[in-house]
């Protein structure tokens, strides 16, 4: 039972970590909390649905959906954020809210206000048994996919020049440009990665929820924001730590709170977040940023 809840926590935490990482990557480079990140997820969800309706095999549909998320993120940067590049952080934030609301309305009016069912393949319902211990296929997929995505991202950031440049840009963007590395490439890559992460997270999210709806992105982006802040805004390891912490706290509370207090679950989680921030105002693993005069 306890082992089971640990698996639940890791599975949920992994999804939160992917989401928080998507926000953190963009924030670390351009200082923008992209609240339209959730709509990238929604878009990927609809792309999955469309691909399945068109009769694509499931793996192909997932590929299409994740690519859609990534491309949409790049397009979003191109169309909405690039013209605002020299604007203040507040203007960027408002722009991201505007993009988010706009996309929601487009989904509602263009597709449907009603959730659309996404029938997951049958093998996703079921469980592996080890003696009297069972682990569901759903959580297993979440855990494996999150772990692989985190490892792949880590390898990219460590080994590739662009990845290294992104880590450097998080510290000091101007100096990266002084090295002759184009700002647009770094920013576009940041959005591409965040879109990929949003797409992957959307797949896990939809696999667990079996439907997509226009407002689907709201809760995840909120959780991601909380996780990213707890972890240390703009810090990538922090985002991962924050995501897992949030997942663990949520599952723990859900599993143990008596029914009478259960409605206060979210309030308790947020109080915990405030407590963490009081103890560590910069988050669990603060971002490295150069102090400039």
């Amino acid at each position: 039972m306890i082992a089971q809840q640990i698996i639940n926590a890791v599975s949920l935490g992994g999804v939160y970590a992917l989401l928080a990482l998507g926000l953190a990557i963009v924030f670390s480079i351009v200082g923008l909390i992209n609240f339209a990140h959730g709509e990238l997820m929604t878009l990927s969800g609809y792309a999955l649905l469309a691909s399945l309706v068109l009769g694509f095999p499931f793996p192909m549909a997932v590929l299409v959906a994740v690519s859609c998320g990534a491309l949409a993120a790049v397009a979003m940067e191109r169309i909405a954020f690039r013209p605002m590049r020299s604007a203040s952080v507040t203007s960027l934030l408002l722009t991201s809210f505007a993009v988010s609301s706009l996309l929601k309305v487009v989904f509602q009016n263009g597709i449907s206000a009603r959730p659309q069912a996404v029938a997951m393949p049958g093998w996703m319902t079921g469980a592996f048994s080890f003696g009297d211990f069972t682990i569901g296929v759903g959580p297993s997929i979440s855990i494996v996919v999150s772990a692989l995505a985190l490892i792949a991202l880590e390898v990219f950031l460590r080994r590739s020049v662009t990845g290294t440049a992104m880590r450097a840009a998080a510290e000091d963007f101007d100096v990266v440009r002084l090295m002759g590395i184009p700002a647009s490439r770094i920013i576009a890559t940041a959005f591409l990665l965040s879109g990929l992460l949003a797409g992957l997270a959307a797949m896990l999210w939809v696999a667990q929820r079996a439907s997509v709806d226009p407002l689907m992105g709201f809760t995840p982006v909120l959780k991601a924001f909380i996780a990213a802040v707890v972890g240390g805004l703009g810090s990538l390891p922090g985002a991962v730590a924050g995501g897992f912490l949030l997942g663990i706290i949520e599952v723990l509370l859900q599993a143990t709170l008596p029914a009478a207090i259960a409605p206060y679950r979210d309030a308790i989680v947020l109080s915990g977040v405030i407590a963490v921030l009081l103890l560590r105002p910069q988050g669990l693993i603060p971002a490295v940023r150069v102090q400039r005069s």
């Binding site: 599952v251 029914a259 979210d266």
Partner: protein, 388 residues
């Protein structure tokens, strides 16, 4: 002083529209205000119901209007599935001269609109809000139209008992009256008829993850043979996907809110799920004829029984205006409250002697192979229905 200026302008607008309302609401016209959700979580319920109502009103207008006398002007405003916004648009509709108010498919926004219409005596009907506490919370102008939660729950419980189910797990959410109370009504009837409630769990609407609840269900010492919930979209798909994904095969029963195309489209995932509807279109029935007519009217088949329920609201209003013989809101209210054995499309509808939640049949349905199959239609024994 921009705010003052704006206020001034708003007052001016209201005045202009007020005049307009008076001038257009001539003796032969009656305004029905529909404060309903075009967007948000309630939209999937309000929209089909509203489509049915609209069809009825179009047909009635072609025959001279409500009671053959009063041409209906239907004014629709979006509540965005928000309770506060519902009150705002309800007030706008009242200001525009609405004499009858239609409210969303949920108790909370319906109550917030009802608090505005009650002092004015404007009869107010919820599209498919089914909480039995709803009408009592507002007062004598508020009417339910759909089978009430406690009636539906009794029907499902009767059925579960007849199937030989013994132990139930209740999954509720405190977020709405519907999700909080319906499973509890079920539990009361189920226990009274010899069953046992072996566990309870709660969720928050929009909650991403049900794994902890599911693990609790798996860990119960006394294994349930049934899970009863009133969760709906998108929580119901999420719950059942994760439940089956965790390898739990216990049947899940719900109520009317999961009788939607979205849930049906989940296919094998929802095989065996029992839910309720306001009626079932047996061959040769009036409902079957309605469905055909609706398909012609809307260009698509009804998604659920919310359409026919909306249509029946139109018929009820027509009958009430006919009985009242006027467009006076108070007279219309009294006429609705005294309706007895009114022949709707789905069966007989009675308000007389109730607390304004109608007595009407409940159809039990079961998903099988991606289709909703009719199990039986019954009117629960009034003595079995738990008090709200």
């Amino acid at each position: 002083m921009p705010s003052l200026y704006r206020l001034h302008r708003a007052a001016l607008c209201a005045a202009v529209f007020g005049v307009a309302a008076v001038s257009t609401a001539s003796a032969e016209e009656i305004i029905i205000g529909a404060a309903t959700a075009q967007t948000g979580v309630l939209a999937p319920y309000d929209q089909p119901a509203l489509a049915g109502l609209r069809m009825a009103l179009d047909e009635l207008n072609a025959k001279g209007g409500l009671g053959g006398k009063y041409t209906v002007k239907l004014m629709i405003k979006d509540t965005r599935s928000d309770t506060a916004q519902t009150a705002t648009v309800a007030q706008e509709l009242i200001d525009a001269g609405a004499r009858i108010m239609i409210t969303p498919c949920d108790a909370d926004p319906s109550i917030s609109a009802g608090q505005l219409t009650q002092p004015l005596g404007i009869p107010t009907l919820t599209l498919c809000g089914s909480a039995p506490v709803l009408t009592g919370a507002v007062g004598d102008v508020m009417f339910g139209t759909y089978p009430a939660d406690n009636v539906q729950a009794t029907a499902v419980a009767d059925f579960a008992v007849s199937e030989g189910k013994k132990k139930v797990f209740l999954l509720t959410s405190p977020d709405t009256t519907y999700t909080a109370n319906l499973p509890e009504y079920f539990g009361k009837v189920f226990e009274k008829k010899g069953g046992a409630v072996v566990g309870r769990g709660t969720f928050t609407m929009g909650q991403p993850d049900f794994s902890a609840e599911i693990t609790n269900i798996k860990g119960l010492a006394d294994k349930p043979d049934l899970i009863m919930t009133a969760a709906y979209e998108p929580d119901f798909p999420a719950f059942i996907q994760q439940l089956r994904g965790a390898g739990v095969t216990i049947p899940v029963y719900g109520a009317d809110a999961i009788g939607t195309p979205t849930i049906k489209a989940l296919g094998k995932l929802v095989d065996g799920v029992v839910y309720t509807a306001a009626g079932y279109a047996e061959p040769g029935s009036k409902l079957e004829a309605f469905n055909a007519a609706f398909t012609k009217y809307a260009g698509h088949a009804p998604e659920s029984t919310y359409e026919v329920n909306g249509y029946e609201i139109g018929l009820i209003l027509d009958q009430a205006v006919k009985t009242a013989g006027s467009d006076d809101p108070k007279a219309i209210r009294n006429a609705i409250a005294n309706l007895r054995d009114f022949e709707g499309i789905t069966g007989k509808i009675t308000y007389a002697g109730t607390n304004r939640m109608p007595l009407r049949p409940v159809a039990l349905m079961r998903y099988e192979g991606g289709e909703g199959k009719h199990v039986e239609t019954l009117i629960p024994d009034a003595a079995d229905v738990p008090a709200p």
